[in-house]
């Protein structure tokens, strides 16, 4: 069998096992009798896919993640460069950032609810914090790992600080930063879904938790699969973008990116 056939068989076998256990209402030590069968899940998915609420939830979660992640990218890269290049900035910002960094973003939910006028802003804030630190840390490391030779070269060609920033630092850190962006996107999803479950009015996370409280288990599974699919698509997009902008790396180093 070819590799692809093995992979397809593996997925089909897992799905078959699920179907067998749930259809037989198996109560081993794990209780599969409460979980929906594949046809129940498929029916629920088919029903939901055509409803406007599903599209609205999807859009809402995507807007939240893209806003939070986008802001975190800008802020994380800017702060990472400043920390990597300016000792003064390091003295001012580093103690604050190091004090906040160990706190998981999701633990900030109560503060976010108190701090922001709307839940919407609070959720975006949580998503932002989640992605900010991985991006910041990877940017700072990438800046410090830049060979000084490139900067020397640009300076002896007449380049000033802004030229060095634009022609050396920003392109030079991309391979390192793209790894941070991938990690950031992953934690962003964890946090946006958790925050939606706690305090949303729309969104895939909110809908999934609501389905659970309404004892609509097929809808819970559909929500989970939707979240997984969205996470996979956005991570793939970040990875693809990362590969496109680091084509100048030797192949081996490029495969190590992200």
């Amino acid at each position: 069998m070819t590799g692809w056939a093995v992979r397809a068989a593996s997925v089909l076998a897992a799905a078959g096992l699920w179907q067998a256990l749930t259809a037989a209402d198996a109560r081993l030590w794990l209780r599969f009798d409460r979980l929906p069968t594949l046809d129940e899940i498929a029916g629920e998915a088919a029903r939901q896919l055509v409803t406007p609420v599903f599209a609205l939830d999807l859009l809402q979660s995507l807007i939240r993640i893209l806003t939070g992640f986008g802001l975190a990218t800008v802020a994380g890269v800017a702060a990472g460069i400043a920390l990597g290049r300016s000792p003064r900035t390091r003295d001012v910002l580093l103690p604050l950032l190091e004090a906040v960094r160990p706190i998981p973003a999701i633990a900030l939910v109560p503060v976010a609810i108190l701090l922001f006028p709307t839940d919407e802003q609070g959720i975006v804030f949580i998503t932002f914090v989640a992605a900010f630190f991985p991006i910041l840390v990877s940017t700072r490391h990438a800046v410090r790992a830049l060979p000084t030779l490139w900067e020397d070269a640009v300076r002896t060609l007449g380049g000033r600080r802004l030229h060095v920033l634009r022609h050396v630092v920003l392109p030079g850190i991309l391979p390192g930063v793209s790894g941070g962006l991938s990690v950031g996107m992953g934690v962003s999803w964890i946090c946006v879904i958790s925050a939606e479950m706690i305090s949303g009015e729309f969104g895939v996370g909110y809908r999934t938790w609501q389905a659970y409280t309404l004892v609509d288990y097929p809808a819970v599974i559909v929500g989970m699969l939707t979240i997984g699919l969205l996470g996979w698509l956005t991570s793939a997009a970040v990875e693809l973008a990362g590969r496109r902008v680091t084509r100048w790396l030797p192949r081996a180093a490029r495969d190590g990116v992200s």
């Binding site: 020397d152 070269a153 002896t156 007449g158 380049g159």
Partner: protein
């Protein structure tokens, strides 16, 4: 804003350097100390010396990358306080930006000077052709051999018509045959400019081939200053010159 770009061949006059009581490095044990040296506008000065004699350090000071620990460095009468496009540098290796194509690397100094796209592309292509790389404009540095990369560095250093070119063992990492090719290319290319050249090497034969004048830096049992100076141009085929230089190393 468009800078006026001199045509290839119509290069500006070279710039002279004056070094007085120059010490470079940190703390009580500078790498280079007590250097007094005049470099004439337009001359090709080759600095030779053993490893650790401070040749590259001296070059970095001329570039404005390293401030003096003591003494002064002047270029064209003005004290050097930082880098300038007038003093372009060629590094031993890896001085190219790896994410920029050959063309984009060569045109970078013109882009920094805000020369318009069409004009800078034309000038860059002309220089790429002069260093024998026509057809390789779109290649990335990692796709080039060591010799080709140094050709790109040479084109990039010269494209904006600097008044001095500082070369830090530019052919040190190349095999003997490529090295000989590059030396001939350098002589050809320099014939079309009036720039002052300061060339650092540990290879005396290379120095003899390229130099108007050779200075020996450092040396065994000596301090870290200029140990000896030899006029080369006009010396003819002086068989004893090579031996006298080697004796000072």
């Amino acid at each position: 804003m468009t800078a006026v770009l001199p045509a290839v061949g119509a290069a500006p006059a070279g710039i002279g350097f004056t070094l007085e009581g120059l010490a470079l490095g940190y703390g009580h044990d500078p790498v280079v100390r007590g250097v007094d040296l005049d470099i004439e506008p337009g001359e090709v000065l080759v600095v030779v010396g053993a490893s650790g004699s401070g040749k590259s350090t001296l070059l970095r000071a001329l570039a404005g990358l390293l401030p003096p620990a003591a003494g002064t460095v002047r270029a064209g009468g003005a004290e050097i306080t930082g880098t300038s496009a007038e003093r372009a540098m060629v590094f031993q290796d890896d001085g190219l930006l790896p994410w920029r194509s050959v063309l984009r690397n060569v045109e970078l100094p013109l882009r920094i000077r805000k020369v318009g796209r069409r004009e800078r592309t034309a000038a860059a292509l002309e220089w790429i052709d002069r260093v024998g790389l026509a057809g390789a404009e779109g290649k990335l540095p990692r796709e080039l051999s060591g010799g080709m990369r140094q050709r790109v560095q040479l084109a990039r250093a010269l494209v904006a018509a600097p008044r001095a070119v500082l070369m830090d063992e530019p052919f040190g990492a190349l095999d003997a045959q490529t090295r000989a090719q590059m030396q001939r290319l350098l002589l050809d290319v320099l014939a079309g400019t009036r720039a002052t050249v300061v060339f650092v090497t540990h290879d005396v034969d290379e120095a003899l081939l390229l130099a108007d004048r050779i200075v020996v830096l450092g040396g065994p049992g000596n301090g870290h200053g200029i140990r000896a100076s030899f006029a080369v141009r006009g010396a003819g085929r002086d068989a004893g010159l090579r031996d006298r230089i080697l004796k000072e190393l």
